[in-house]
Symmetry: C2
Subunit: 358 residues, 2 copies
């Protein structure tokens, strides 16, 4: 059972069941007499885990035929590089909605022209740009659906005339998506789908093999597809916990069911922010993320920031300090964050308000 209210931005809270399964497998993996980190990745026992992992992904996201789900080392940052390596022939289009999008843009520039179709950098990324034009002569259009640091989110599948690539590190599996609208969806696992150490990439196979430059082996999605993410030794334990996390999600009704819970959790917290006389949200209301809730002290109450952080900490809240580029507070309320934690945070905000304003 959780001992603190964990609002960490990632690595973050995970289901107790997944952690307990990890402990059991560290002791003995499937009756092999070995720990899960001591078995061969070429054993039938381990191969069963790899197969289950991909099939849970396909089931939970209703992934259509023609897509492969990969599990790779290096994190989303490595995907910033793998995407242009595999797709960028001449030109790519990117939507700049935060620091992670900016980092993805930087990597793409090593491979060709990059057109940034729109950016919200002017207001510290506190909104999602709209009314931009996606150039039809680009090889792909890249978006970051959820912006962890700024608490903004593209909450629907956008229409793109060219291959759509999405970094969904921090909102994958939090809401239903239509995978068929995307060429690649990738992300680090350490929010909704497991611990750090593994990245996922959902790749539509027919978009590959079209670049003219050389692709190094480890950068080549085709290589990993051919070998079912086992071209080299996979990050075993991270994948094991990913499977357990997805099992938990499936048992709890899958993505559709958790989406409803996530909406309720986010509503609860945003309502308090909007009601409370001390706090104000930082993201444009229509773009508010249901995963990362960012807020600051209202004008005139900035001096109470440190005091609120300490007050929340003394009531068991962990990880609510905002990113240094935004300041204030951020509550990351991923799938495994129980509604009780949000209720506890809301109560903290209310009690603190009473303390200050009576």
């Amino acid at each position: 059972m959780k001992k603190v209210h964990n609002f960490n931005a990632g690595p973050c809270v995970l289901p107790d069941e997944a952690i307990e399964a990890g402990i059991a497998a560290l002791k003995d993996f499937k009756g092999t007499g070995m720990s899960v980190i001591e078995v061969s990745h070429r054993s039938k026992e381990w191969e069963g885990i790899m197969e289950e992992c991909e099939s849970l992904w396909k089931e939970l996201l209703h992934i259509p035929d023609g897509y492969k789900v990969l599990f790779l080392g290096g994190g989303a940052s490595m995907q910033f590089l793998m995407v242009p390596y595999n797709l960028l022939n001449k030109k790519a289009a990117y939507l700049e909605t935060g620091v992670w999008a900016k980092k993805a843009i930087k990597e793409a520039k090593g491979f060709g022209e990059v057109e940034v179709v729109a950016s919200s950098a002017d207001t510290v990324y506190n909104y999602i740009p709209k009314n931009y034009t996606i150039p039809t002569d680009a090889d792909y259009f890249h978006i970051t659906t959820n912006n962890t640091i700024y608490g903004t989110e593209i909450k629907h599948d956008i229409e793109s005339p060219i291959t759509l690539v999405a970094d969904m590190s921090s909102d994958i599996m939090s809401r239903p998506i239509d995978v068929s609208k995307y060429g690649i969806i990738y992300g680090g696992a350490q929010k909704n789908v497991g611990p750090a150490g593994v990245a996922f990439a959902i790749v539509r196979e027919d978009i590959l093999g079209k670049v003219s430059h050389y692709i190094p082996t480890m950068m080549d999605y085709s290589v990993h597809i051919k070998d079912d993410s086992m071209f080299n030794t996979p990050p075993v334990f991270s994948i094991y916990i990913m499977v357990q996390t997805l099992r938990w999600l499936k048992k709890n009704g899958g993505v559709e069911a958790i989406h409803k819970v996530n909406l309720r959790k986010a509503e609860l917290l945003y309502n308090e922010i909007d009601r409370n006389r001390l706090f104000v949200g930082t993201a444009a209301k229509e773009d508010r993320s249901i995963m990362n809730v960012c807020f600051v002290m209202k004008e005139g109450y900035e001096d109470h920031e440190e005091a609120f952080l300490n007050y929340a900490k003394s009531h068991g809240m962990v990880g609510i300090k905002g990113h240094r580029s935004v300041g204030g507070f951020r509550a990351s309320i991923y799938n495994a964050c129980p509604i009780e934690s949000i209720e506890a945070l809301v109560k903290c905000m209310q009690d603190f308000e009473k303390q200050i304003l009576g």
Copy 2:
């Protein structure tokens, strides 16, 4: 306590103490009330683990000033690519001692000319080529010190007139080395230093920054050095178990002490192979690996291979089937493989010999 005799080639047997520490940290990490896979990698508790990890490496291998130890995702296969990205301007020299060396060569070819100074491919890599000349006009010379599949090993620090780069995936920390002779030493963790999911790279800083081509961010050792392996979220749990594995090694006398044990373990097994009328070693005697012991049935007894595998399996041996390219048997006897397991395997070989030959 170990329930089987684990001779897996990697992932492989790990110290019980390291696994137990992993279990404890999954339950609660340093009294944070969170699992080690739920804490922020930017927390002071986690940063302490990163610092301890590098300092254990430096202490155990007596790494001199001017070197940085990195902990990265992607495995040794990613290092095959990172090495030429960071060092290869015009030409590199490689020693081809097995399939892994060959894979490293393939990646280097994407960046310039590669001179293979010698190869033992002609005899299925059953020896280490000697008497080759290292070209002084190459940017670096790359060796694979231990060849897991073939059971050969370069057991001493070689002299190189140019920057020496070594893949030590499967013999790092098994024997003392003089790090000052190397520019880069790298490897996957999943033999002597931890579970799968993290690679190490010991990098001499003054060899960097000399290539003229563009280096993508995640490929750039300098980026990871600057951020102490935390440019992006590190593979947390794998690093945690690495620290525990190194703590165990330190407690047991360090690399010098384990080297003596490793020599005894290898001698015990090779002596039995040489004595036994049924088996014969596959590697040239002077190049025999102290980590991976490869042997086959003697001529005339090939039909008994399957029977011996089954016999050994029924006596609790795991992972002794040889790699498909060599056939026969392979016992990987890494640091954490207890001498009792080798004694048990030797007894199996003796008992089986009696069964067949009386």
